[in-house]
Amino acid sequence: MPEPPQPEATAAGTVLCLRGGTVCDATGERRADVLVRDGTITEVADGLTPPPGARVLDCDGAWVVPGLVDLHAHLREPGGEDAETIETGARAGALGGFSALVAMPNTSPPLDDPAVVAAVAAAGRRAPCRVYPAGCVTRGRAGTELAPLGELYDLGVRVFTDDGACVADAGVLRAALEYTRALPGAVVAQHAEDPALAADGHMHEGAWSSRLGIPGRPAVAETAVVARDLEVVGHTGGRYHLLHCSAAGSVALLRAARDAGLAVTAEVTPHHCVLTDECCATFDPLYKVHPPLREPGDRDAMVAALAAGVIDAIATDHAPHPPVTKERPFEEAPPGMLGLQTALAVVWTHLVAPGRLTPAQAFAALSWRPAAIAGLTAEGHGGPVAPGRPAHLTVFDPQARWRLGADGLAGPSANSPFLDVELTGRVRHTVVGGEAVVVDHEARR
């Protein structure tokens, strides 16, 4: 990928020794210490002796994995800095074990313009973890005219999405899929919710919405778009990624497309694997997300699809909103919840600890699979943990029990249902480009 002149944050001259942990990456698991010099992994072996002057990071009892990669973070800059900035979002990411975030383009102005994308990319290189802007599929995310996909591609953009809005026009989607076939590694990522079927809805349409009188967004709003899109992909070719899959019906469609050999990937959020529409009975807009929290059967289908590999990745859909916007009735509050700081811990607490995912499955879904989808493997994200690779590493203590309090949040927003809830498993250290940006749960920059 062509590099603009701005230098990345590096760790020239520093030597780190990650000692005592168990390494897990796409090649398997092994007991090993990891030596990092000048931003690059130099040795991976059991019982390394730290060289003089090396900073030792204690990894006793912990997993050492390739830095996590989030395909789906709303960092709000430019335009929404009262909710989050690239810097605070990247700090939240680092605290959550992420070395790379894909920043969603629904900013103000949106990321449909080379100048705006270049500015975000530049800020992203200086941030506590790496931030890679996604680009809009259509101008102004209006769903009618294609954005300058090639120009954005040349700035390094690989993920194109109108997230927050669905590319509802099948002709526009077809054009985007066909055009990006000429851009190797590019992927069209769809927010699959039919705007007419989801119209004016604020939660999942089901027994709970019926009871609560909150207008609903039915599962068919998602599955109808997924079914149509996969038909289009079958016709055009091109790479298609389904953002935040939430409905059980989408899983069968994905499986069939995969079996037919289509280049289709999918992600799910931690909250869609853990929470259900019953949470909305509190009328607390913390639980308002698009797509909405669905029924227990949908939730369980998400976890099963992750375990079966039908859904490739776990992505946060980290969506900060300043507190004042959540001091409203459910129907008037904006959708979205925080995710970066709690993603791995929530997945561990609810999916890995109860044995529904193996540790390796969880790390795959949060690191090397999303890295491959977003074209970030070449940037050194997603491992493997091997000599010569850039040092993006996360150290995760699976035994730690902790609570994230409001005072522990990196940004100005606090819209997380996982605040003050006991979680099992906590990110201990995060190394980005050879720099220890989180040490012993504390952000160092």
Binding site: I214, P218, E327, R328, F330, E332
Partner: protein, 312 residues
């Protein structure tokens, strides 16, 4: 029943709790018939009506109830939502509470707004209608009206709720209250005006009004909510009236003693014929007077005892 702090919905009230409100309402109904229909029970207390959606009828009914109990009243109204005014609902409510308020009657276009407010204030909160969710005092006054009219309880009474159930907070509260008191409720509407997963409601469902008419003791006619998205869900309105309107001919086919109710405001000629709305079967006027007695009972129960106790 004692110690209830808010009235946010019929949800959460069991039969004895509902009956307790109705019994108290009977005592206040008697007060309303006196030469001076006013008692000093809530002297020195302040009741604020916070109506963020237009509804003159309900607001006047609550304010009349508060004044008949000798409470002071204040009225806070805004067109549109608090969002439109740029102030958060929390800020609005905190401002009002700072004036010194014992009870807050909330009408809001969004479901659950009174529940949110109840979490923010010390005052008692009464749900005066929230979005499509609940309208508990309407349900109580309907039960009260029916109980008075029947002279007995509602056990076995066959109530048909006709019309736009999907968008109706009156229906959501009414079905819960009627069925809790032992009535048999049938929802009568075209499929597009029925709520999703209607099989989870404690009611029978039919799309055929004519087949059901002769069975009903009560025809409860809902307003067609034209300001919401009913237009998209319905063919032209004359077709609706032809199939679901309570016409004079249909009213004539009801049981001799069957009655007609409507939560108001009525759209005559769309849901119900004028001759039916004003006819001998109509309990509409009784419903309005019952509204004041029921709301007196609610305010009296929430404010007439020492603070403290369980949440609603």
């Amino acid at each position: 029943m004692t110690g209830m702090r808010h009235l946010l919905g019929i949800t959460g009230l069991d039969r004895p709790a509902i009956e307790c409100y109705l019994d108290d309402a009977a005592a206040f109904w008697e007060v309303l018939g006196r030469d001076i229909p006013k008692v000093p029970a809530l002297r020195g207390r302040t009741v604020v009506t916070l109506f963020l959606e237009d509804s003159t009828r309900t607001r006047l009914s609550f304010e009349t109830a508060a004044r008949r109990l000798s409470a002071d009243t204040m009225s806070f109204q805004a067109r549109g939502s608090s969002v439109a005014k740029g102030e958060s609902l929390l800020d609005t409510v905190r401002t009002i509470e700072a004036l010194g308020v014992d009870a807050l009657v909330v009408r809001h276009p969004a479901a659950g707004a009174p529940h949110r407010i109840a979490g923010w204030v010390d005052a008692a909160v009464v749900n005066g209608g929230d979005g499509r969710h609940e309208h508990p005092t309407q349900a109580l006054l309907d039960c009260f009206t029916l109980r008075r009219h029947l002279g007995t309880g509602l056990d076995g009474c066959r109530i048909g709720i006709i019309g736009d159930v999907a968008h109706s907070r009156v229906a959501r509260s009414g079905v819960r209250a009627f069925s809790a008191l032992g009535a048999e409720v049938t929802l009568i509407a075209p499929p597009t005006l029925l709520p999703e997963r209607v099989e989870t409601w404690p009611a029978r469902v039919t799309h055929d009004l004519d087949a059901e008419l002769a069975e009903l003791d009560v025809a409860y006619v809902l307003r067609v909510q034209r300001e919401r998205d009913a237009a998209r869900r319905l063919p032209p309105l004359h077709e609706y009236y032809a199939r679901y309107g309570l016409t004079e001919a249909r009213a004539a086919r009801m049981k001799p003693h069957a009655v007609v109710m409507h939560p108001g405001p009525m759209i005559r000629g769309l849901e119900v014929a004028t001759t039916v709305a004003d006819g001998p079967r109509s309990l509409v006027r009784d419903q309005v007077r019952a509204g004041v007695a029921v709301r007196m009972a609610v305010l009296f129960r929430l404010l007439g005892s020492p603070a403290g106790g369980d949440d609603a």
